[in-house]
């Protein structure tokens, strides 16, 4: 158990010592072991931060800060077996803090430039990139709370109960945020009908 519901399918730990053992090693004077946790969770933290922040540079900063903060406070991680979820939560809070006061639509299309390459027809690839640009911009138009709930639900695949536990927000409030986010994103549906 790592505290991240879907990391197994998307780049989480598949082998090696369990997280709890790694945490114990770091706390008992082997700081280099922390690299194992960085390798295990950098992708899931980055994926979330990039969608939340809209800019790759900002996402990298968030990931870096989250791991440093996690290292500084590792002895306060109450359940070392779930250190992945704990680190993710630090990243969630950092995104939230950094988005405060930021104007909407500050999104860099550099993020879309890093999309995975489309094989086959260049026209199709171009159209797909265009669609994703629209999606990326639309995501940044959501309020940070809506975006957070929507990304956790539909990108990370968390259940409302998992989100509620980790964000300390009621299930009904989270549902409302996701539903409103969908209403906002409906405009994108035209391409899919």
């Amino acid at each position: 158990m790592t505290g991240l519901p879907h990391e197994a399918q998307r780049g989480g730990p598949t082998s090696g010592p369990p997280d709890g053992e790694i945490v114990r090693r770091v706390l008992s004077g082997q700081p280099d072991e922390y690299a194992v946790l960085v390798r295990r969770y950098k992708d899931v933290l980055y994926r979330y931060a990039e969608r939340m922040m809209g800019r790759p540079d900002d996402a990298e900063d968030i990931v870096q800060q989250a791991f440093v903060k996690g290292f500084q406070s590792l002895d306060r991680c109450r359940d070392p077996e779930k250190v992945g979820g704990w680190l993710f939560r630090i990243a969630v809070n950092l995104c939230k803090d950094n988005l405060k006061g930021r104007h909407r639509r500050e999104v860099s299309l550099d993020a879309v430039g890093t999309l995975r390459a489309e094989g086959g027809n260049p026209e199709v690839a171009s159209e797909r990139t265009e669609i994703r640009e629209e999606i990326y911009s639309a995501l940044q138009d959501l309020s940070p709370e809506q975006r957070e709930a929507f990304v956790l639900k539909h990108v990370e695949g968390w259940s409302y109960e998992e989100m509620s536990e980790r964000l300390d927000v009621s299930v009904s409030a989270l549902k409302m945020r996701v539903h409103r986010a969908r209403e906002e994103l409906q405009v994108l549906l035209q391409r899919y009908r």
Partner: protein, 207 residues
């Protein structure tokens, strides 16, 4: 937007249970959400791991020194009974006069005099719990079990706690962290939890 469609997208009902006129809408949403998952990177960029590890190593090498400096420079309010205060003053005078005197460090003073542990009773009303434990800085954040001997749903434990301000949480059934609803005050821990805070005064009896 249709409520049934939201229910389907929330994973509460299968697509087959949607009415015919919503089927194509549901398919469109599924395709859109697939693209939402694909929009953006699936992995951290090359080089980020190296940069993160450099920052962590820098932190690791500096933190021991910084912690030591903070420990020495942090002001520590000490409330001493009059006689203990006089003894401490005498010790300082002896030290200034160059006599060989053993002056305890700040931590030792706190432990020996004003830092004498006091038994504090913690209680939580949790009638539905199977187990209740407490975890705080005074237990080094390891858990100590509470008991409910008379089965009235109120779980209690007495723990020796040194004078000072302490943070703690309750753990119900080994999985659910609960903030003490009757705490004197609360402190955000920076990671989304709100710790309960208890202030323990030093014993008032003089020496």
């Amino acid at each position: 937007m249709n409520r049934e469609l939201h229910s389907f997208l929330d994973g509460e009902i299968p697509r087959e249970s949607l009415p015919e006129d919503l089927q194509s809408e549901a398919a469109a949403w599924q395709a859109l959400l697939e693209d939402v998952r694909d929009a953006g990177s699936d992995a951290a960029p090359v080089g980020l791991e190296t940069r993160v590890l450099q920052s962590v190593r820098a932190e690791a090498s500096s933190s021991a020194w910084v912690r030591a400096m903070r420990w020495w420079t942090r002001p520590r309010p000490l409330r001493l009974p009059p006689l203990a205060g006089a003894l401490a003053a005498a010790a300082v005078v002896l030290l200034l006069l160059g006599r060989q005197a053993v002056v305890p460090g700040p931590g030792e003073v706190a432990t020996g005099l004003s830092g004498q542990a006091i038994h504090v009773q913690f209680a939580l009303n949790a009638p539905d719990a199977s187990t209740v434990a407490i975890s705080g800085d005074f237990t080094d954040w390891s858990t100590v079990g509470l008991s409910d001997a008379d089965g009235d749903g109120v779980w209690t434990v007495r723990i020796p706690v040194k004078p000072g301000v302490h943070e703690y949480m309750f753990l119900i059934d080994g999985t659910k962290w609960i903030t003490d609803p009757n705490a004197e005050r609360y402190e955000e821990d920076g990671y989304g939890y709100r710790n309960a805070v208890v202030a323990v005064a030093p014993p008032t009896a003089g020496i």
